[in-house]
């Protein structure tokens, strides 16, 4: 198995933005000379939507998966059919990431029902005797900084048995008072979510306090739409019966790839929320929900 194909983009982080030039090299290594029918490189970006079985029939779910929305696509012929010398051959390439008209380059996002992905695929066609070689490489797109200033939108919250909804027997609840604030629900995606939380009092011992980051994905089409909320990550900020009256920091880093600036298009939406979950020792679970708006500055 003599020949190896590799696609390398120039930047270590593989991150590019709208308007920039995606550059790199295709590397072919082989002990012998390589006979080929041409080498081409394809850049593609697409949104994959998947309807969850919960909202539509199984058959539909199957059908709908195969309908990606293309964002960007271009192919270049790198080398005409011929021979490559033995050893290592590097062929540089450049793709301008330029969108036509009003279209925008969505940010890379790996979700459950929505996936936005960008790839580079290199194909080496070969004669009948040898298999064609293919190599794909994902690169990451960050959307452009949003214009205008991000207005901080701090939120104060107080959680007591009275503020809770969905309680069956309010009387059986232990007394507690939890106060706190989020510094802003408008978040820059590269900056952590911050805030503070104080357990002012709690009859029952606190077992754990967690931040649950949730994605809300909405896929819509002519037939209607499906909205699903799923957990991205759960970060514990307090473990055990914390000191009363002492502010505990709320701090969460937004994970890369799994989060993107809040996105709303005609076909789909990607939104984020955070839940503050307080778990008491008698297994009472208290949740407070905050919608977030993520953006990239």
């Amino acid at each position: 198995m003599g020949t190896a194909l590799d696609v390398r983009v120039k930047r270590a982080g593989k991150v590019y933005r709208d308007g920039e030039v995606l550059s790199g090299v295709v590397v072919i290594t082989s002990k012998d000379t390589v006979q080929h029918q041409g080498i081409s490189l394809t850049m593609e970006g697409s949104v994959n939507l998947q309807l969850s079985a919960k909202n539509v029939g199984v058959f539909e779910a199957f059908c709908n998966t195969a309908k990606p929305i293309q964002i960007i696509s271009s192919t270049i012929e790198m080398v005409k059919p011929g021979k490559l010398p033995s050893g290592k051959t590097e062929i540089p390439f450049e793709f301008p990431l330029q969108m036509k008209g009003n279209k925008v380059l969505y940010e890379t996002y790996h979700g459950v029902f929505v996936n936005i992905q960008y790839t580079l695929r290199c194909d080496m066609r070969r004669s009948l005797l040898a298999k064609d070689l293919t190599k794909t490489c994902e690169f990451i797109v960050h959307s452009l900084s949003q214009k205008g200033k991000l207005l901080p939108s701090p939120v104060d919250f107080t959680i007591t048995p009275e503020t809770l909804q969905n309680v069956k027997e309010r009387a059986s609840l232990p007394r507690f008072l939890i106060r706190g604030h989020l510094n802003s629900t408008n978040c820059v995606i590269t900056q952590p979510l911050t805030g503070e939380l104080v357990v002012e009092s709690a009859e029952a011992a606190v077992k754990s306090i967690e931040l649950q980051l949730v994605r809300v994905e909405t896929c819509g089409c002519a037939e209607g739409y499906a909205r699903d909320a799923t957990e991205i990550q759960n970060i514990q900020i307090a473990d055990g019966d914390v000191c009363r009256g002492l502010p505990i920091p709320i701090h969460m880093v937004f994970p890369r790839l799994f989060t993107c600036p809040t996105l709303e298009t005609t076909n789909f939406k990607v939104e984020f929320e955070v839940n503050i979950v307080v778990l008491l020792h008698d297994d009472h679970l208290i949740t407070e929900n905050f919608p977030l708006k993520l953006c990239r500055m």
Binding site: A12, G13, I235, I237, A238, D239, G240, L246, P247
Partner: protein
């Protein structure tokens, strides 16, 4: 008849004039054989030398050093070897290696900062448990098992990795019922697995192991083991932090040039930055708080790759993060770890250290909260014990804060602690962490605080102990000193539990000795005795009691003063276990020998020390090791040498007599006593200028008698022989002729008992060399010993010769003949008109016989016998295999005749010529020696009255070897 009648007559005085060496001023220069040898290492050469274990080349130098220590200072061969072997074995980090590493890293802090590594062992030793422990590992399922263990991975590593694989795939493994040792082994295994995983490029797995390990720190079951667990697991975290840092650093290598130590983030390339960022993102997504905290803290240093301000931003955030840890004990250890990492990575960032402490103070009330209390009830742990679990962490945090901190800050810290109800736990940590000078200067304040402080379970005696430790290191203000002691002792003396009491008292004894007189020391000792005697409490406190004694003798080394401390000896009586008792006695004696400058006759000292020495002596039994005996004997001898009653010789002798009865089981002491008594006799002679009065003569005879009856009790035969000879010489010098005779007779009759082999330093050696040496010495003495009027002429010499004759010599040795030639020397000396030396005031045979012809004839007869013996022996050496010996002996005998015989006598002359030829006959003679001998004869012939040597030289042919 042809030898002695013709012994060369000598004029010793003129000969000595001629032969005296010209005195030459010695040039000491650089080189002296006895100067210490310093070993200079030549490392590079050594490493290259193939095969051989490296040896060090030595060269002498003039620097004055202990040869042993200087060898150790340089790289000695063993450590060199170890250094060379180190990378090969790549053993798990030993304590030493770890310590070294820590030292390197904390170099940014300075050597006056007590590093974590020194605390480590202490904590592990102190916080132990007999309860069963458990490890709960949950390795999250890992997709795409990355175990392509190539052949490069050793078998051992592979099996280990496989073991770990068992843990994987989402399985949860709980190891229950582990003993403490099992637990420690398991942790060490995890540490090794981490390294293995890392080196086999399974970084994700490495991270998982680290996460699982740090998770163990949130588990507080078996809480008394928690501090030790913290130590073990943070070792793993340190390893991990180091691995990650070094990996990223290696990515920054540019053309094999690594970054300088103080690199800036701009010089880090993108790939390295991306990798580093990846680690931080991965860690930020760890679900649980405690592992997330610990792992991020472990790689805190990696922030240097990303930004200049990274660490200074991270530290406050991590500090705040700890607030989320509910369990106060877990939290305080997390703080300790953060401070530890902080001090290592960025010691200049003091703010976070302080913040950590203040945060701790804020959560302090939790300790007495319900959650903690319930936990303690479940685990059956008492509050005082629980509180001591905090000490290592708080001590460490405070130590970090106090390091090079201005007094203002320390004062502020103190105030803050005070505000918190003067908590005992805090106070204790403040005292153990802050500078001793700081504490000592405020001793009275501290005593006040200790008295007022809210005990809340933390034992107060520990507070006084901590204060005492500070005062042992630094001095409080002069005026407060007595009051401090009074206040402290007032509390200490009230302690009921003997262990608590003694731990405290031990520390305060040093303070007392340092600043006060024997009166106070006495009071303190009396108090200790009072507390430790009931119920034989001292039995459990020997180490502390021993340390008290040590402190007392460190400060009071004037022994007159020491023994005037009335309670000192009663204190010693508390050491009732013999081994400890002897140890203590040894310490005291060592101190005495070290510090006592002048000899003493103080009855108090003598009595006390005799008592102590007796204790040491009485501990000797059949099972005592030789080394131990030697050591005890050396100590006792050291004491005996320091005893002097001045001119009161009688008293001195009776002291020696008493000592003999006391120390009869230690031979070296008896030997010392004999020497001392002999010295005493000679001292008496010196004082009397050789003329003994009736009284002194009697005294000297008593001394001699002492020796005479002591020597037989010794077991070593050569010690006995030499002491007989030596004592005989002393007796002779003191004109005790019959006594001297007795000594010599005893020696003569002892010679047949000399065994063929004797034990020297535990090895069996042939005794002949020792015997030869002794006999030569003996003969030299016998020259001046006058004949006993009732015994025959040369009674002793004859006796000795008979003994030699009958002694069973080694079959193939010429020792007997060599001795006979020595006897010829003696006999020729005896024929001289005036002997070569005399003993003052003793008439030797030259005076007694005055050259009487009968006497000379007697000597003549003797020598004739001896010569014929020699010749007979020479004949027996005629066999093929003994020809070489024959040649040597012949030459030896020839030289004797040359030196002592009168060669003008024809027969003697002929004999010497025959010997000369015999020596050369079979070609075994060394030509060089023969040439030199001949040259000597020729040279001698030029001297007056030596002309006959010319003829002799002509008759001595030189045989060239064919």
């Amino acid at each position: 008849s042809y030898f002695l009648r013709h012994a060369r007559s000598r004029n010793y005085v003129s000969e000595s004039e001629v032969c005296k060496l010209e005195s030459v001023p010695l040039d000491f220069g650089d080189y002296h054989p006895l100067k210490p040898i310093t070993v200079t290492e030549s490392k590079t050469k050594k490493m290259n030398r193939k095969g051989s274990t490296s040896s060090t080349s030595s060269s002498s130098s003039s620097s004055v050093m202990d040869p042993l220590s200087s060898v150790l200072d340089g790289t000695d061969p063993l450590s060199l070897f170890a250094a060379a072997a180190d990378p090969v074995t790549a053993a798990p980090p030993t304590d030493g290696a770890r310590r070294k590493r820590d030292k390197d890293e904390s170099s940014a802090v300075g050597s006056d900062f007590e590093p974590w590594s020194s605390k480590r062992g202490e904590i592990l030793a102190r916080y132990t448990t007999t309860e069963k422990l458990s490890i709960n590992l949950y390795m999250g399922s890992e997709k795409g098992k990355a175990t392509t263990t190539g052949s490069a991975v050793s078998e051992k590593v592979r099996t280990r990795l496989e073991e770990l694989d068992d843990l994987e795939e989402g399985s949860q493994k709980e190891l229950l019922n582990l003993t403490q040792q099992d637990y420690m082994n398991r942790i060490e295994e995890l540490n090794q697995s981490l390294k293995d995983a890392w080196s086999s490029d399974q970084k994700v797995k490495a991270l998982k192991i680290v996460i699982q390990c740090s998770k163990l720190l949130s588990d507080t079951t078996v809480i008394q083991f928690y501090p030790s667990k913290f130590v073990l697991i943070t070792d793993i975290l340190d390893t991990f932090g180091k691995l990650v840092y070094e990996r990223i650093l290696s990515m920054c290598m540019d053309n094999r040039v690594s970054l300088p130590d103080n690199f800036s983030p701009e010089s880090v390339n993108d790939t390295a930055k991306e990798t580093c960022l990846n680690w931080f993102f991965k860690i930020a997504s760890i679900r649980e708080l405690i592992p997330r905290f610990y792992v991020e803290a472990a790689i805190l240093k990696c922030n240097k790759f990303l930004s200049k301000t990274g660490i200074s931003e991270c530290l406050p955030r991590l500090t705040a993060m700890i607030r989320g840890i509910g369990d106060p004990l877990v939290a305080v250890y997390a703080r300790a770890y953060l401070c530890r990492v902080g001090m290592e990575v960025a010691p200049q960032l003091k703010e976070s250290l302080n913040k950590n402490f203040f945060d701790f103070l804020l959560t302090f009330k939790q300790i007495h909260g319900d959650t903690v209390q319930n936990q303690l009830v479940v685990q059956c742990v008492e509050i005082p014990l629980y509180l001591t679990l905090y000490s290592p962490a708080i001590d460490w945090i405070l130590q970090c804060i106090a390091y090079h901190a201005p007094d203002v800050l320390l004062t502020e810290m103190m105030e803050r602690c005070k505000k918190l109800g003067n908590n005992a736990l805090l106070l204790n940590s403040v005292m153990s962490a802050f500078r001793a000078e700081f504490i000592a200067a405020r001793s009275m304040d501290f005593i006040g605080m200790i008295k007022e402080c809210d005990e809340s379970g933390f034992p107060k005696h520990l507070l006084f102990r901590s204060l005492g430790l500070n005062l042992a290191l630094a001095d409080p203000p002069e005026n407060d000193r007595l009051q401090i002691l009074n206040e402290a002792w007032k509390v200490i003396t009230k302690l009921k539990n003997p262990q608590d009491y003694i731990n405290c008292a031990e520390v305060w004894v040093e303070y007392t000795c340092r600043h006060f007189t024997k009166r106070e020391v006495n009071t303190v000792l009396a108090d200790v005795i009072k507390h430790m005697t009931p119920d034989r409490a001292f039995e459990d406190a020997y180490p502390q009691l021993q340390s008290i004694i040590q402190k007392v003798i460190t400060y009071i080394y004037d022994f007159a003063l020491l023994f005037s401390v009335e309670k000192f000896l009663p204190f010693l009586d508390m050491f009732q276990k013999e081994s400890v008792r002897v140890e203590v006695c040894k310490c005291i004696m060592e101190s005495f020998i070290k510090h006592q400058q002048e000899s003493t006759k103080d009855p108090v000292i003598l009595n006390a020390l005799l008592h102590i020495c007796k204790t040491m002596h009485d501990s000797v039994n059949a099972l005592t090791l030789d080394d131990e005996k030697r050591m005890l004997a050396a100590l006792i001898n050291g004491f005996i040498k320091m005893v002097s009653f001045g001119r009161d010789f009688e008293q001195q002798l009776s002291f020696y007599v008493e000592a003999r009865s006391m120390f009869c089981n230690l031979e070296p002491v008896l030997v010392q006593l004999i020497h001392s008594v002999n010295q005493l006799a000679m001292e008496t002679r010196r004082v009397m200028k050789g003329n003994h009065s009736r009284k002194t003569a009697a005294f000297v005879r008593a001394c001699v008698a002492f020796c005479f009856i002591t020597i037989p009790s010794l077991s070593s035969i050569f010690t006995r022989l030499n002491l007989y000879l030596h004592s005989g010489q002393v007796a002779l010098a003191n004109q005790c002729l019959s006594q001297a005779d007795a000594f010599f007779k005893a020696a003569v009759s002892l010679v047949p008992e000399v065994p063929k082999m004797i034990s020297v330093d535990g090895k069996m050696r042939p005794s002949d060399a020792f015997l030869l040496e002794f006999l030569c010495n003996f003969f030299s003495t016998l020259l001046v010993v006058p004949d006993h009027p009732e015994q025959g002429v040369l009674f002793l010499v004859r006796g000795l010769l008979n003994v030699i004759q009958d002694y069973t010599w080694e079959d193939n040795s010429d020792d007997k003949v060599r001795i006979y030639t020595h006897v010829l020397h003696l006999l020729s000396a005896m024929t001289q008109e005036a002997f070569i030396y005399h003993v003052d005031k003793v008439d030797s045979n030259d005076t007694l016989y005055g050259g009487d012809s009968k006497f000379l004839a007697e000597i003549n007869k003797l020598s004739e016998t001896v010569v014929s013996q020699i010749l007979d022996h020479l004949k027996t050496l005629g066999k093929e295999e003994t020809l070489k010996r024959q040649s040597q002996l012949a030459l030896y005998f020839f030289n004797t005749i040359l030196a002592h015989g009168d060669l003008r006598n024809n027969r003697l002359n002929q004999l010497s010529v025959n010997l000369w030829n015999l020596a050369q006959k079979h070609g075994f003679a060394d030509t060089k020696t023969m040439v030199k001998t001949l040259e000597y004869i020729k040279r001698r012939s030029k001297q007056p009255e030596m002309s006959h040597f010319t003829d002799l030289a002509l008759r001595l042919p030189l045989q060239s070897r064919t």
